[in-house]
């Protein structure tokens, strides 16, 4: 990202003031028992895209991050029927409770305030471009006047300050929040709700249902199930899998692994997991070490960042390619095609970055929106790969195939020149 969001000095200092004022109370508001996880998630830095709600550590399961009910729900949602037009998956949803927005119906272009967790990974960078192009389309339509963006740079306290700045002097008509972490941002979202204006939460969730709509793809368990089942189907019992994980303590990444680990254990797959921080040097070292110890048959990733380095480690060692699950990042899709390995590209639907602004349009038109807006989340298989490679020809390696912005203004240059 060569053009990160620059703040003016004035706004930075006002944010600092707000932060200073709030320093005492912001943490006091989080007092439910689940906030032990909050402290863990607040330390995250360059996390991959995270998913939905959860983060309620349950008793009775063998893993701190495994919640059987959520697992079962997402397992079922993988084959659920989605309402809406299949050619516009960013508007599809699973039938459920709807929020009545008649009270928000009004004329004129609105100002949207967006509190973003960060743009510190390729997934978020791609999504943010898509969002800005969607904004352009809605500005042309006269729906939105402007969108003020604040980037919390992976910092909970900074994002709380950003939200409070928006509430007190942002002059916002609607709030869009992509929370940095679940528990820590709950009070911030609650304060935004108290203004009585529409609040749209997307990607990671919070522990309150006060938001007008909460937009997210199915979730981490679904990812874990899709990927682990693929590896189990293509490997033998007793085979060895290396699981490459970004970092610990982030619920959305932990649920991907919790689901996959359960399935590996049930099927006699020996899986060793490593935290790599998505650093290609680390990834390569772990795999090279593992290959020195013995054969490795599969590679599982909780996010595709660094997948190419993992594949190269097998090439450098001169051994057969593993069965592998990456992500719909172009670097992986291209390397997957070049090598011809047996693979699957799970998708954490990047097109969800369009949905919040389209939700704003619906809300001010008085149309009802799903209370919990669950978007489709379908992996890319080998059969579909060629189509996605062709559709995204010329896109940089950090681009995500299911970005869903082909019909937006600025396509494809806006995504190519980043």
């Amino acid at each position: 990202m060569r053009t990160p969001i620059r703040r003016t000095f004035a706004s930075t200092s006002s944010a600092l003031l707000v932060l200073a004022v709030l320093a005492g109370c912001s943490t006091d508001d989080v007092d439910d028992p689940a906030d032990t996880t909050a402290t863990e998630t607040t330390t995250e830095t360059a996390t991959e895209e995270p998913t939905s709600e959860e983060s309620s550590p349950e008793s009775g399961s063998d893993s701190e991050w495994f919640v059987q009910a959520d697992y079962d729900e997402q397992d079922a949602q993988r084959s659920a029927t989605f309402e809406g037009d299949e050619s516009e998956p960013w508007l599809q949803y699973i039938d459920g409770e709807m929020t009545d927005t008649a009270k928000f119906a009004s004329e004129g272009a609105k100002k949207v305030c967006f509190a973003n967790a960060s743009v510190s990974n390729p997934w978020r960078q791609t999504g943010f471009i898509t969002m800005n192009q969607q904004l352009e389309a809605l500005q042309d339509k006269g729906v939105i006047s402007e969108m003020e963006v604040r980037d919390a740079q992976d910092d909970d306290n900074r994002q709380l300050a950003d939200i409070d700045y928006f509430i007190s002097e942002g002059n916002c008509d609607a709030f869009v929040i992509s929370p940095n972490s679940t528990a820590a941002l709950t009070p911030g979202v609650e304060r935004a709700c108290e203004t009585g204006k529409p609040v749209i939460v997307f990607d990671r969730g919070v522990e309150t249902d006060c938001a007008t709509t909460f937009i997210h793809p199915i979730g981490g368990y679904a990812w874990g199930i899709d990927t682990a089942e693929f590896l189990v189907d293509n490997l033998e019992e007793g085979d060895k899998v290396i699981a490459l994980r970004i970092l610990p303590g982030v619920d959305v990444l932990e649920t991907r692994w919790a689901a996959a680990q359960k399935i590996f254990e049930e099927n006699g797959i020996e899986a060793d997991d490593f935290f790599t921080g998505a650093d290609p040097t680390e990834i390569k070292s772990y795999i090279t070490d593992a290959l020195n110890q013995g054969e490795v048959h599969g590679v599982w990733m909780d996010a595709g960042d660094g997948a190419v380095a993992a594949i190269e480690a097998f090439e450098d060692a001169g051994v057969d390619y593993p069965v592998m699950t990456g992500e719909d990042e172009m670097s992986f899709l291209r390397k997957w095609e070049d090598t011809g390995l047996t693979g699957l590209a799970p998708v954490y639907s990047n097109f969800q970055w369009r949905t919040p602004l389209l939700a704003v349009e619906k809300i001010f038109a008085g149309e009802e929106v799903p209370k919990e807006w669950v978007l489709p989340q379908t992996p890319i298989t080998e059969d579909e790969r060629a189509d996605f490679l062709e559709a995204n020809d010329g896109m940089p390696d950090g681009h995500y195939a299911k970005f869903g912005g082909e019909d937006l203004p600025g396509f494809p240059e806006a995504w190519q020149d980043r």
Binding site: M1, R2, P4, A46, S118, V119, S120, N121, P122, R124, Q125, F274, F275, G277, A278, D279, P280, T281, I283, K284, S285, Y286, T288, D289, N292, Q293, G294, D305, G306, V308, A309, E312, D316, A317, G318, S331, P396, D397, G398
Partner: protein
């Protein structure tokens, strides 16, 4: 003749009197080799051998020459960085900016070279120029503005990290063209026995040979002398600022070479090179180089890097989780510094303070007390 009555020996002794040999120069090759191995700088080679044998026992796959040479290939960047850090440490300074220099060069390679084959050579030239510039700034601010190098290079580290974060937004970008990456990934193939000789290993050997040569030149000797006693060296007429700045330049240039190799080995990511400064310092210290300067051999620094990587490989093959890596590294730094500070006494001329006990029995005029020729006059 001389009057060895007290510790303060008059230096009227003519210089023809037997000047005691430095222990390192006494005896035959075998004895000298053994004496060398007993110093911290030599012990690290023994450590490397011990670790290597341990790994081979715990993991028979490691006895394959191909696996070994690949291991050497991927350890080359850190060994090169350690040799660069050596120049700075032996002259009595620190270079904490190394990891950030690596990251900067990696991102620079990704952005400047990209998919353009014709930019490989200009790209490498640009990276070396940027590396040299960073070293010059580090060196001049340390020596001319008298800011401690710890602070200067820490500031440089933060400045470069911020720059990398600004350019990349913290995420990976596209890799440079494959031909450029071959420098760090490829090698001479179809070699008998070892199968492949990785280019990084060849680069390491060339740089190691050049470093040994350089350390035997007046530049190298003066650099060590500066680390040992800056004032004395200054009085001797050697410009401290020039020598130390050149040491910093060598350090950032070696970080640059490590960056070129790493971008080939792994690819572009802003976290590549993270922690390299501490790994390099650990390797240098493990190689028996005295923090504060003045003692240590450049090849020991490279051997220290190999010992460190071998140790981590051994730990992982023994099932110790990699999360302990930082802890192990921290303990090594402390223990190695403590041990080497004392152990370097072994290879030195006997200390003068031990002399008085011998005086009664050893007072023949022609055998002045060791070290006495330096006198106090």
């Amino acid at each position: 003749m001389s009057t060895p009555t007290t510790g303060i020996t008059a230096i009227t002794t003519t210089e023809t009197a037997a000047r005691p040999e430095i222990p390192r120069h006494q005896g035959g090759f075998g004895a000298r080799f053994a004496a060398g191995m007993a110093t911290p700088g030599g012990a690290v080679f023994v450590l490397v051998a011990v670790l290597l044998v341990s790994i081979m026992i715990s993991n028979p796959n490691f006895t394959d020459p191909g696996a070994l040479i690949r291991f050497a290939g991927r350890t080359a960047p850190i060994a090169i960085a350690a040799m660069g850090q050596y120049y700075v440490i032996v002259s009595g300074e620190f270079d904490l900016s190394m990891g950030a220099v690596v990251a900067t060069q990696v991102v620079l390679a990704g952005n400047f070279i990209g998919d353009d084959q014709s930019r490989i050579v200009p790209g490498i030239a640009l990276m070396l120029a940027v590396g040299a510039l960073i070293g010059i700034v580090n060196g001049l601010v340390t020596t001319l503005l008298k800011v401690p190098s710890f602070i200067v290079t820490l500031g440089m580290m933060l400045a470069l990290s911020g720059l990398v974060r600004y350019i990349t937004g913290g995420a990976a970008s596209g890799n440079p063209v494959d031909d450029f990456r071959q420098i760090g990934r490829g090698g001479i193939e179809d070699v008998p026995v070892v199968d492949i000789i990785p280019y990084p290993l060849i680069i390491l050997v060339v740089l190691a040979a050049a470093s040994v040569w350089l350390m035997r030149r007046p530049f190298g000797r003066t650099l060590v002398a500066i680390g040992d006693n800056p004032e004395a060296t200054n009085y001797s007429g050697a410009p401290l600022w020039s020598y130390k700045t050149r040491a910093f330049v060598l350090s950032s240039l070696s970080a640059t070479v490590a960056g070129i190799l790493l971008v080939g080995y792994a690819g572009v990511h802003p976290s590549v090179g993270a922690g390299y400064e501490f790994t390099a310092i650990t390797a240098v210290v493990l190689g028996g180089v005295l923090l504060g300067g003045g003692r240590g051999w450049v090849l020991s620094a490279a051997a220290g890097a190999f010992a460190l990587e071998l140790l981590f490989t051994l730990l992982s093959s023994l099932g110790v989780p990699s999360t302990w890596r930082d802890t192990v590294q921290g303990l090594i730094i402390i223990v190695a510094v403590a041990v080497s500070a004392r152990a370097w006494q072994v290879g030195r001329r006997p200390r003068r303070t031990t002399a008085p006990t011998d005086l009664s029995s050893n007072s023949t005029p022609n055998q002045p007390t060791a070290g006495a020729t330096t006198g106090e006059h």
